[in-house]
Subunit: 244 residues, 2 copies
Amino acid sequence: MNNAAPYKGNTTTQMAGRSSTSLAAAEKPAPPRRTRNKPEERHREFVRKAIELFAEVGFEAGTRELAQRLGVTQPLLYRYFPSKDDLIAAVYQEIYVNRWKKEWREGLVDESRPIRERIIAFYEDYASTIFTPEWIRIYLFAGLRGVDINRRYAATVESEILRPITLATRASFGLGGEDPPTPEEVELFWTLQGGIFYYGVREIVYRFPMPVDRPTMIGNAVDTFLAGVGPVLKRLAERDGEAV
Amino acid sequence: MNNAAPYKGNTTTQMAGRSSTSLAAAEKPAPPRRTRNKPEERHREFVRKAIELFAEVGFEAGTRELAQRLGVTQPLLYRYFPSKDDLIAAVYQEIYVNRWKKEWREGLVDESRPIRERIIAFYEDYASTIFTPEWIRIYLFAGLRGVDINRRYAATVESEILRPITLATRASFGLGGEDPPTPEEVELFWTLQGGIFYYGVREIVYRFPMPVDRPTMIGNAVDTFLAGVGPVLKRLAERDGEAV
DNA sequence: CATGTTATTTATCGAACGATAATTAAATAG
DNA sequence: CTATTTAATTATCGTTCGATAAATAACATG
C-alpha cells in the first residue's frame, strides 16, 4: 500500500475515446463511444505512454493504469503487444537503440578539433540526451531486472565512445594511437563516463539539489581528467611496452 | 492443495531449541513441527533474509516468498513487523546506517599520511563495504522508489567524506584549507566518487565482466584525479578570491 | 444500401498479493 | 502437575495483476 510516488511526471489523464460530453446522462451507463485509430499510430502512442509510465513507477506498473492513461481499455493493449514483456521490449528499443546518435563517434574522432573541445562537446550533447527520467530511470530499472539491455548498451558505449576517446587522448599526448586500447586504459575512461553519468543519477533519480550546472560540472571533470591522465597513460604504455 | 511441505525446512540456520520428537514418524500428513525462537533472534533473522531477498528481486518480493525462505509461515512476519514497509525500513537501517564506519572520516583527515595514500585507502575499504549486491542493488531500488534514503545518505557522504577530502586535497596543494569547500569544488570530488561507485554498478548490477580489478581501478582513478585536480582547484580558488 | 473486416469493449478467469482473525502448541511459572 | 502466556500456525478476506474469450461497433468496400 506504499508506493511512495517517486517521480511524478505530468499526469495528463485525458480520456481519448471516452469523453462523455453530455452530463445529463444520469440514467444510462454512458455511451462507450469508441474511437478507431490506425494500428501504427496506436502502437507508437502505446509505447510513448508506456515509457512515461514505466519511468515513473517501474515495470511493475499495471497494464490497467497504462490503458487508463491512454483512454482505452486494458485488453486492447494485448491486441498490439502479445504480452507485457513485448511492450517492455518495444520501450527498450525506442529509448536505447533509436536514440543513439552516430554523430557522437564521428565528433570524437574529428582530429581537426582539440581533444578537450571534442570530449566536452560530446558529453554535453550526450548528457542532454540521456539526462531525462525516461532514459536514466528505465535504464536502472532494466539493469536491476537483469535484462541484457545494459550489458549491450555498455558494450556499445565502450566500442563507440570510450575506445575512440582513449585513442584520441593517447594520440594527443604523443603516445601513439596504433595499438588498440588496453582494458586498463579503457577502464580509466569508464571512470570519467561513470562520474558524469552519476551526476545525472543524483539529479534525476535521487532528486538531489544540484548547485553546479551541467556544463560547469562537465568542464571541470574533463579538465581535471585531461590534466591528470597524461602521466597515467604514459606509465601504462611504458609498462605494457616492457611486458610485451 | 497445500500438501507439499509448507515449510521448506532449513535454508540456513534452523537453530532449533530442541531436537524434537521422533524423526522416524514420516507417513502421515506430516506434523507441523514448530520451533519457538526468541523474538530478538527472529527479528534479526527476518531482516537478514529480507535483505537477501530484496537485493535479488526488489521490494516487490512477496512476503510469502520471504516466509518460505525463513522456514516460517507468512502471517508470522506480521507479528514482528506491522507492515511490509516497516520491514523495508528495518532493512534500510541495517544496511545504510549500521554499516557506516566513522573511521572513514578519521582516516581521511589524518594528516600524518600523504593525501594519495589516504584517499586510496578510503576507497578500497569503502568499495569492499558497499560493492555487494545487497548494498548497491537495494540502494538503487530505494532510489527509484523515491524514498529519501538516498538523499540522506548522499548528504552524509558529502559532509563526512567529500568535504574532508576536498579540504585535505586543497591543503596538499598549498591552497589553504581555511574556507569551507565551495559547491563547485565538492562537485569535482563527486565526480571521482561517482566514477568509482559506477564501477560497482557495472560489476554488480549489470554484471559486466570487469577485466580490471578494483585496486588497480581505484589507483588509476585516484592518480589521474590527483594529478589533474591541482590546476582546477587553483583556478577555482583564484576566481572565487576575485569574486569576493 | 448491405456486407465484411477488425478495432475496441465487456466480462471473466486464475494466480498472487498484503493483511487480519481465529486457532494451536511450545515454553514458562506457580 | 496445572495454568498462563505467547510464538506460530491455519484459514481467509479483499484487491490487484496479466491474460483470454466473446460480444460489439466503427470503418472500408461493394
